[in-house]
Symmetry: C2
Subunit: 418 residues, 2 copies
């Protein structure tokens, strides 16, 4: 498959812009974000018009109501996008932080300084608001952005990007701090995934098919924003009211997100007391439960779960239930079936809590709180580009800091090696 | 291409060992490293015998003197390998460090805790000492290691690995903290590159052909230990004695390493004075010089350089030379031709030094010292698994800390999201 020339050209332009952006002052970057917000608002009519054309084409193609809603840009959503850019402008600048530093016995002075990654590519699906969210967080962290959205949102994305580019230029930064791939072909997506000369990091934002395509095709460094098969473990020593509140919140507060709980693991010692109660609560809220034999022996209305069910990210009003004979078995269950996103335990026992935080292998391990807190906003990052489920570079919610790397700056006095 | 079942099996075993290792105490890991050193020494005869068989086969196959030397394990080299394991045992344990932590307005307490990556795979070439160096640094940082060396060193690697595994087990850790791929086929190498269920990070240690194969085949997260096309820029304000010493050291102290200088960039203002002098010094040391027209106009014995020469990692007594009309042009030259490894400037001018450290995009930017200092030992890391030239996760020399990730540990009091 040959890479479209337009993709190579965008890569070169983004790289050139990134060189300028890497040394731009915090004030200049913030001015550019504020100007982008203004220009976004000033272009509301043009963006709505482009979006209407995308919506009409999508509807004619038979797009369902859910995706159509995600594609739609209302005045309120555009205002929220502008507000998001202004919020990012107000965040601390991660660039320039001296992470650590030391002097060597020979007198060399070494420091590790936070710098932008350079060019960040983002491939995303049918949500035009990602265009401005992603461009804003990239610019804040000193990175040029190459954005490649879905073909269904192309007109909307182009209109949003044009407004943002105008704003960046008005503030005195290169408009190519944001470039948008306007070629909706599969070749252009693969071209971005293989743009090794120019792309320092690729972040896919989308479902399993996109992730698989990235795994198959990408040659640039990638951060996977992956699935969340999150568990809530209710320990023998749990406060059961607290446990019920946390399970209900984690499962039902919002089902379509990666930090929603998909699986409940109940310690056998309290299963007889807790499971009937929580099953009734969940089922009253419309949650379909599937479980292992031990769970079904306690609550007959729980349907049988297959082995696959315990690894499933339902993203819906469904939940798998397992009974664990002890805490070790609960931890094994979580580590075997979890996706490395977020795992929570409810317990009043300090040893159990400490063991869980040590032994569970996930981006976030949570004691006595809902899995729903694994989120850039909730963690205090102010903005989020995604939630990493891989271990390299960034794990968990990714804010502006996670879009940086570092360089070693070394000062000598004519030092040579002997 | 189908993955050999043996590779899948090794992945599973390493993952199981990694679960144990992740929570092993610092003392236990250090005991295991010391025991591995002892067992390595105790098995000297068997390892030498295996190595003799590798050497005989390689010689019969016509292997050259350089590679044969790298393949050879002498008593002194085995002693150095054991000493390396003991040194790693003495280093600080990166695991468990609380990197940062904060309390949210809602009372949630969040900390970021350093944890091992899990399973680290290393694909390397014809150097059996890497077997123990890599296994040692992986174990110190709490990672199980999957090692895949070259077929030419297979007997040696198996003998070294057997000794280390015995040592780990004697100390009470799983012997599968180190597994060695004993299948020298191309399929087994690709199998390791695609072992996404088990491998958290792959580090290739080898030449351009290996790196290209990784880029083409790897589906697991990778840290590229890439080329070093390192420059020394001699600024208008350089102390010329210091500059001469640094250029000579960077180019000639050891030519076959990635932090050796490959290119000299001289500010036009001092080129008439400095270039004849340094060219004579370099040529006296046997260095062949290729340069641009401006350099050749000053020193006639400099041969013409092609555009490719300025991007070449010679790894030999050869160097490219360019004249830059000003510092900006020098920085542009470095950023255009450099490989992101190490770039040095010699200058007495503070503004020039600060501008160079800000604007040059490389893992290490060095002022008034040789490029040869970019090295785990010289930076004080105690051990090094490689030098990253990518920006994701780790940049520059990688010690035990760079083989870790983090998890967020969150403590609540029954918190739910509203």
């Amino acid at each position: 498959m040959s890479r479209p020339a337009s993709v190579t050209d965008l890569g070169r332009r983004a790289r050139d812009a990134a060189r300028v952006l890497a040394t731009a002052s915090t004030g200049l970057k913030n001015d550019a974000l504020l100007a982008a917000a203004e220009h976004l608002e000033a272009h509301t009519a043009a963006i709505r018009e482009a979006n209407a054309a995308d919506l009409a084409a999508a509807e004619a193609d038979g797009m369902g109501a859910g995706p159509l809603d995600r594609l739609r840009l209302t005045d309120a959503r555009l205002a929220a996008m502008a507000a998001g850019l202004r919020q990012v402008a107000g965040l601390p600048d991660p660039v320039g932080e001296v992470i650590d530093g030391w002097r060597r016995p020979n007198g060399l002075e070494i420091s590790r300084v936070r710098v932008p990654l350079g060019v960040v590519a983002i491939i995303y699906e049918n949500r035009p608001n990602v265009t401005s969210d992603a461009a804003g967080i990239c610019l804040k962290s000193g990175n040029a952005a190459i954005l490649r959205g879905s073909g269904t949102a192309l007109r909307s994305n182009l209109a949003v990007a044009a407004a943002l580019r105008e704003g960046f230029a008005a503030a005195g930064l290169p408009e190519d701090c944001l470039v948008l791939v306007d070629d909706p072909s599969h070749e252009s997506a693969v071209g971005v995934m293989q743009l090794t000369e120019y792309v320092d990091c690729l972040i896919p934002r989308g479902g399993p098919a996109l992730i698989q395509s990235i795994r198959d095709n990408a040659t640039v460094p990638v951060i996977i924003d992956g699935d969340g098969n999150c568990h809530v473990v209710v320990d023998a020593a749990a406060d059961l009211d607290r446990a019920a509140a946390i399970v209900m919140n984690a499962k039902t507060q919002r089902t379509s997100v990666c930090n929603a709980a998909e699986s409940l693991v109940v310690h056998a010692a309290i299963a007889d007391e807790f499971l009937p109660r929580i099953a009734a609560d969940l089922q009253s809220a419309g949650v379909r439960l599937v479980g292992d034999a031990a769970a079904r022996a306690i609550v007959g209305s729980i349907e049988p779960a297959t082995e696959e069910d315990f690894g499933r990210e339902f993203l819906d009003l469904e939940m798998s239930v397992a009974i664990a004979p002890d805490l070790g078995a609960a931890i094994d269950h979580v580590n075997r079936h979890g996706s490395g996103h977020t795992e929570a335990i409810v317990t009043a026992d300090l040893d159990a809590a400490r063991r869980f935080t040590r032994e569970v292998d996930a981006a976030a391990v949570i004691v006595n709180a809902s899995t729903r807190f694994t989120d850039g906003e909730e963690f205090g990052f102010g903005a989020e580009i995604g939630i990493s489920t891989q271990k390299l570079h960034a794990r968990g919610p990714m804010g502006p800091r996670e879009l940086t790397t570092y360089k070693y700056v070394v000062w000598g006095d004519g030092h040579v090696r002997t």
